[in-house]
């Protein structure tokens, strides 16, 4: 079975630009979550989507937005990029939305903002 796939793997953007990151969950998984991992830190929760609805949002500014499509894939958008947005962005999928359904992580998209 294919795992969680994320694209692109690496991305370099300039301050002020906008970026879109993509995630395809494991087949049959209905929930997608996004996490930001800054160098030297653990992943930090950004969003959770389940059945195309936002179920949770972490402490991130409105520049961050996301959506989930009917096929359960997801996009994370970040507007007006700041240097501090440089990080590894992780997507995780799970079959359901509860904690009994473990998260499966992708390899991430490494975003560098210059």
């Amino acid at each position: 079975d294919a795992g969680v796939t994320q694209s692109p793997t690496h991305l370099i953007k300039t301050r002020g630009q906008q970026v879109t990151l993509r995630c395809s969950p494991i087949s049959g998984h209905k929930s997608v979550s996004w996490y930001q991992q800054v160098l030297g830190q653990g992943p930090q929760f950004i969003f959770q989507y389940y059945e195309k609805e936002e179920r949770g949002r972490g402490n991130f500014p409105d520049r961050f937005s996301a959506r989930q499509f009917p096929n359960y894939s997801s996009e994370l958008n970040v507007n007006a990029l700041l240097l501090g947005d440089s990080a590894l962005y992780l997507c995780a999928s799970s079959h359901e939305t509860g904690a009994n359904s473990p998260l499966h992580f992708g390899n991430g998209t490494r975003l560098t903002v210059t």
Partner: protein, 115 residues
């Protein structure tokens, strides 16, 4: 809001040594607890999890963790490490009643095992 503290930033051990990685969380209610591992160049993988019941949880590759509610701790252990255990280990907590399934991670502990 919950938080997770991992005591060690970097641990260096020789093969066959015993391992214990500390993890403490702060949250007054019911929690689910997890340990994830990230091998070099690979994605985060679930090592083990605690939801309820027996506080001693066994995971993959010989790892185990003990939930001590009174100490708000969930330490990871392995009796004898191998070179292949070299990785970064993350403790995480999910608080019940948060309304969504969101994990709060610690900063991680990098484990280096010397052959």
């Amino acid at each position: 809001a919950q938080s997770v503290s991992q005591h060690n930033h970097h641990v260096i051990l020789s093969e066959a040594a015993s391992l214990e990685l500390g993890c403490n969380y702060s949250y007054g209610g019911t929690v689910n607890l997890f340990w994830y591992v990230q091998y070099p160049g690979q994605h985060l993988q679930l090592l083990l999890k605690y939801f309820s019941g027996d506080p001693l949880v066994k995971g993959i590759k010989g790892f185990e963790a003990e939930f001590i509610k009174s100490k708000f701790s969930f330490n990871l252990r392995k009796p004898s490490v191998q070179w292949s255990d070299t990785a970064e280990y993350f403790c995480a907590v999910n608080a019940w009643g948060a309304g969504s399934y969101q994990l709060t991670f610690g900063k991680g502990t990098k484990l280096s095992v010397i052959p």
